[in-house]
Amino acid sequence: MAKFSLKVRRFKPEPGEGPYWENFDVDLDPDLSVLDGLLQVRDQQDGSLSVRCSCKAAICGSCGVKINGQSTLACKTRLSEAKEWANRSNGNSEPITIEPMGNMPVIKDLVTDMESTHWQKIRRVTPWLLPKGDPPEREYIVPPESMIDVTQTMACVQCGACVSACLSMEADPDFVGPAALAKAYRFVGDPRDGERKERLHDLAQDPHGIYNCTHCFACVEACPKGVAPMDQIMRLRRIAGHDEDIDDVNNGRRHELAFVNIIEQKGTLDEALLLQESFAPGIKGKLKPPRGAIKALFDNIPTALRAIRSGKARSAEKLVPGIHPKLPGDAQKHVKRIYAHAEEHRIELNLYIKGEEFGGGDDNEAEELAENELQGKEGAPA
């Protein structure tokens, strides 16, 4: 047994009262969860404390909260872990803070309203199979490999932790969001679905769709089930852009193509050319400048002028699109060959399915690598 201080963000819906913090001390086995701590508070200290839960085993998805600022499941976070995190920068006396999930209205204490911020968005992506043609007489027959591809998104328990953490949604509440877009991939990737193209068009053309994700990894970090919603969004972009060649109104496809083509030609980024080609391709590329693109280009002119005035873009190569230098010697030729090779194969390694040989990290010591190799360590999907 050990003592833990819980600092809980409380809110009662009665008019006139704003949210406030309240501290509770609990005495529990450190291996028990933060949810166990909250339930003990409710049973022994304050029966009015509201928290949503059911399975206590990270399966039902109802206990999403923020613990020390991190969106997660209360039943999946050990008290000992939470305490260590709360105290990692200053001493040993900080309480574990527990707040309701972010980006959602609070109903009471730790209970949020997920209807408008989560469930409506899930329904927005038509989360059921739309098969082509008449259904077969018996079951659908699909190769098992083709279903493995969507298992990662099927692991979602609809807890909303990713929505709570999403930094695009913080700036744009209309963003379709990580959970719903991961769910969209679940059907785009399903070989039985007959509306793949329509689904992709819909999500690419929506200004709050796949191109509104700011690539912040907050959902990847928050998700307790390894769904990695951002990775699914990037797969949707790959399919919508590269495979279906959907020229969306959000500049998503044009920006991606411009970037990819510049690196093929120059090796490093030519920002002036990227700006021009993202908004108004067609001067060099095969696409025609779309409606709105010219305006977007003009919207960016004040920024470009400021760059010139501040001395950021004084040399000619930063002003005139396209005169940025190539890589030295034959390096550019090698980069081009890499492009040809990768376009020919387009391998998409999925670590959720594959698992990892080595632990992540950027400075694995040689011994650690050797050790992993000896043990033949294999990562398994959570």
Binding site: R88, V260, T303, A307, S310
Partner: protein
């Protein structure tokens, strides 16, 4: 590594530090010299793809970065970058390359003609922020400070790509990487300003696709830091710098706030404390004025 104590790295400056934020590349060179860190620039290396190339073709992004890693390995040195985005994009590709031998061999096949091959064994690629804390050492840094940033209130701004996902970015071994900016600011004699946005997104990745959302993110964080009393922000990411500094007047329009906050690149902040002339560090090349910051520092008595 040479027996000498000095640090030496294969250095990947990234595209943006040689494009729109040349003051970053320049200040890094000056700071490295002062700290006696030797940098061997990888001038044949290519763009990391910034996550955008992976959005087009994952194998292409992996192969392009494997090429950069292999070029670094040719020098026999560990690799250093000065861009959170390079760090994140490269770590992502590296995770896949390291995870599967057959895949790695396939990718290396595309590098063979150039005489290159990436081998995960012993390879290391770190952002300057990580190098500063883990390899150089905060105590040693403190000893080099000739102009403590006394009274300067600095807000840290990390950039998503050196924060998340933790597992991929070596946090298992170095769990405090998301506290390093605070530690560096303190080592330089400055005061850390706590505000909401330090570990949030600057919005840059969607600037061309969802301009308002992007600028609202940048503007909100700048406003929060100003409200918390910051004299400036410091960031290890030049892309964050573009949205927070170059786009600051646009972010002000979108958020309806009167924004005026200097945003320093990490080597610039270090350089100021090491006594380097603000002008040489390129503080005059910013959009948001850095005068307030410079005026608050003691002139160095050479």
């Amino acid at each position: 590594m040479s027996p000498a104590k000095n640090l030496k790295f294969a250095y990947w400056p990234g595209c943006v530090s040689r494009g729109f934020t040349t003051e970053l590349h320049g200040s890094m060179a000056l700071v490295a010299e002062k700290l006696e860190i030797e940098l061997v620039e990888l001038d044949r290396a290519n763009c990391c793809g910034a996550g955008v190339i992976a959005e087009h073709n994952q194998e292409l992004a992996d192969t392009l970065n494997a090429r950069t890693f292999a070029l670094a390995q040719q020098t026999g040195l560990p690799m250093m970058n000065i861009c959170s985005t390079c760090q994140g994009a490269q770590s992502e590709c590296r995770q896949r390359l390291d995870a599967d031998k057959a895949y790695r061999e396939h990718v290396n096949g595309a590098l063979a003609e150039e005489g290159l091959s990436y081998d995960p064994e012993g390879f290391s690629n770190k952002n300057f922020l990580w190098v500063l804390v883990e390899d150089y050492g905060l105590q040693k840094l403190k000893n080099r400070v000739v102009r403590p940033l006394e009274g300067l209130r600095v807000g840290p701004f990390y950039g998503c790509y050196v924060l998340r996902p933790r597992h991929r970015l070596g946090y298992d071994q170095h769990p405090e990487r998301d506290l390093y900016l605070e530690k560096v600011i303190e080592a330089l004699g400055g005061t850390v300003v706590e505000y909401d946005g330090a570990r949030k997104c600057c919005g840059f990745p969607v600037i061309t696709m969802s301009r308002e959302v992007s600028l609202r993110q940048a503007g909100t964080h700048l406003g929060d830091a100003m409200d918390a009393g910051a004299d400036c922000l410091v960031t290890p990411c030049p892309l964050c710098h573009l949205n927070l500094d170059m786009q600051q007047p646009e972010a002000a329009k979108v958020t309806g706030k009167d924004l005026d906050l200097a945003v320093l690149h990490l080597p610039q902040l270090v350089g100021l404390a090491l006594g380097i002339d603000p002008k040489e560090l390129g503080l005059g090349k910013h959009v948001a004025s850095t005068k307030w910051v410079i005026d608050r520092l003691e002139p160095v008595s050479a």
